[in-house]
């Protein structure tokens, strides 16, 4: 029982928080709408938490994976009148079908190549969308995406969206507390150490990226059915940046971190005067966070005395005093 509580602590906190918030905002359409938007960004930010936080994979295309999900459901429901459930299936399956081979095929073991590969994918997808003619709606995008049949009201959508977040939070909590999750964390800190543990590094990296792509796709599906419109700029590179920021601000390696980051930034975003200035805000904030508090808000817990549960994002080479100690000892003998 004790280990259950530890493993799902974040989920329980989330449920408690949601219960309170739902009670407070249930009659307020503006706040309900904001809540849905936060849930959607939470999912995409969680996908960053999964790839970057757990495995150290820098993917600058998480919004592109979300966009795959959004476009998939838009095309399927708005153009072909098929049920949204099919859209959901595609939104969950297509992004990992792209992500897994992408990661496997980039042969070198280093993380930089994979980061570049995600950048290439994001840009390529953007171009394909814009040149997609009637199929993707080109520059104009697709509108008239129908709402979800079982969640036509805003309060109901609020429940659906947050249920999705909770499910992913549970799955992520499971993963973190499993051998696969431990292998993932080892891989993030030190690839050679992971190999020496017998971990199949390419497979683990690819599986994690695939999982994160699927979670982003889920966020995209919700986005499409909430906003009822999707265009190439809806979930473009600057959204990829903003979700990176959300995860990093909140604490990429925790389950709650990306959700907190998403909430914080969505609320702050309301105060940004215009769309053009967004990029300046997000870019500047990201750099500030990276320089000042690389472990984000959740990482501040360690500053106040509690020991960090998961390893911090440290160097690939062991550069601690222990390594230095080894050198002096050997010299002495």
């Amino acid at each position: 029982m004790n280990s259950l509580l530890t493993r799902y602590r974040s989920v329980l906190v989330l449920i408690a928080g949601l219960a309170v918030i739902t009670l407070l905002i249930r009659d307020n359409t503006v706040w309900l709408d904001t809540s849905v938007v936060i849930a959607i960004y939470s999912l995409i930010a969680l996908s960053v938490g999964i790839s970057y936080g757990q495995a150290g994979i820098l993917s600058v295309a998480q919004a592109a994976f979300a966009s795959v999900g959004a476009y998939a459901t838009a095309i399927v429901t708005a153009r072909y009148d098929l049920p949204a459930a099919l859209g959901l299936l595609l939104a969950l399956l297509l992004p990992p079908l792209i992500a897994y081979p992408l990661a496997r095929v980039v042969t070198r073991l280093n993380a930089l190549s994979l980061a570049i590969a995600t950048l290439v994918f994001g840009q390529a997808f953007d171009i394909i969308l814009r040149e997609g003619g009637d199929f993707t709606g080109g520059y104009i995008g697709l509108s008239g995406i129908p709402p979800l049949p079982y969640a036509s009201g805003l309060l109901q959508f609020h429940f659906v969206a947050w249920a999705a977040v909770l499910i992913i939070a549970v799955l992520l909590s499971n993963l973190i507390d499993s051998p696969f999750g431990r292998a993932t964390n080892t891989l993030r800190a030190d690839t050679l150490r992971a190999v020496a543990d017998g971990v199949n590094v390419p497979h683990v990296r690819s599986a994690i990226l695939a999982f994160s792509a699927s979670v982003a796709g889920l966020g995209g599906w919700l986005y499409a059915h909430h906003i009822a419109y999707i265009g190439p700029d809806s979930l473009g590179p600057s959204v990829s940046l903003s979700v990176l920021l959300m995860a990093v601000v909140g604490g990429a390696q925790t389950v709650l971190g990306p959700i907190i980051g998403a909430a914080l930034l969505t609320l702050l975003f309301k105060f940004i005067p215009s769309q053009e200035v967004q990029g300046m805000f997000y870019g500047g904030a990201l750099i500030a966070v990276l320089v000042l508090t690389p472990n984000g808000l959740m990482g501040l817990r360690t500053v106040f005395g509690k020991r960090a549960k998961s390893p911090s994002v440290k160097a690939e080479r062991p550069t601690t005093k222990v390594a230095a100690g080894a050198a002096t000892v050997r010299g002495a003998s």
Partner: protein, 288 residues
């Protein structure tokens, strides 16, 4: 036939600018062991300033201002890189992330200050006619400047003590520090030089095919593609990589679809990443 040659010559025109962007990317890779994704954004910033200052004041002043602004932008990221180096030792991805943020930041600056319409300067209203092929004199300018910079960068990297120190510290930072090489100052100077090169490239792109606020990423990727086709450690090889990509892209744009042609640099990069380099690392990535 003439069409193909014409497209190719236009491709060389464009390819020179890509090759010029390969320099800062390789240079920074050599100096910092990571990739600066904002290089294209410095170029766009430089081009934008050159355009609008050039329009209101004087083209020459515009060009100088543009290059200066690009250098300042690059210096800013250089300082950030030094700050990050202190906090997050040796994780190359953090700088990639920060540079991605900076790229979007600069994109937003250009959008806010200069609007979303594309801009271009085409002072040459006539064409040369070489053996029946129409070539813009801009091609001559690009190639001339390109070759000049190839020589300059070569001399700098291989014939000066600065270049030798940069290459030494890239190879082995600890040894360089112990040898008294000011690694941090070198790193910063590499960023300044990269900004200069990116700014010049940006001005040339402005005069060649023009740009808009969002061109930054495309230029970064084109420069990166040019740099890695023949290996990231050889900035001069990047020049030829750029020519290759420029020609393929322009020819595809001519015969196929213009929009899809901008996928070309991306395909080059993906091919190189997939096929990999045999190389100096063992199967698990262990260095000798």
């Amino acid at each position: 036939m003439y069409e193909l040659l014409e497209f190719s010559s236009r491709g060389i025109l464009l390819g020179v600018t890509y090759g010029l962007l390969a320099f800062p990317i390789s240079l920074l890779f050599i100096a910092t062991d990571t990739v600066d994704l904002a290089v294209g954004a410095y170029a766009v910033l430089g081009g934008a300033v050159a355009m609008f200052v050039g329009g209101s004041v004087n083209p020459a002043v515009g060009i100088l201002m543009g290059i200066l602004v690009a250098v300042l932008a690059s210096a800013a990221i250089g300082s950030i890189s030094l700050m990050l180096g202190r906090r997050q030792k040796g994780d190359p991805l953090v700088l990639v992330l920060a540079s991605f943020g900076f790229a979007i930041f600069l994109e937003s600056v250009v959008l806010t200050l200069f609007g979303k319409d594309p801009f271009i300067r085409q002072p040459f209203t006539y064409f040369w006619n070489i053996a029946g092929i129409r070539i813009s004199p801009q091609a001559g300018v690009n190639v001339a400047i390109g070759l000049l910079l190839v020589v300059a960068v070569y001399v700098l990297l291989y014939r000066t003590s600065w270049g030798r120190d940069v290459r030494a510290s890239a190879n082995n930072e600890r040894a360089a520090l112990l040898a008294g090489i000011p690694v941090r100052a070198l790193r910063f100077s590499a960023f300044v030089l990269a900004g200069l090169l990116a700014g010049i490239a940006g001005v040339l792109v402005l005069y060649t095919s023009g740009m808009d606020f969002a061109s930054g990423m495309h230029l970064t990727l084109a420069g990166f593609g040019a740099a890695i086709v023949f290996g990231l450690h050889g900035p001069l090889r990047g020049f030829f990589g750029g020519l290759a990509i420029g020609v393929v892209e322009t020819v595809s744009a001519g015969y196929a679809n213009g929009g899809l042609a901008s996928l070309v640099p991306l395909l080059f990069i993906f091919a190189v990443l997939t096929l990999g380099r045999g190389g100096r690392q063992g199967p698990a990535g262990v260095r000798a």
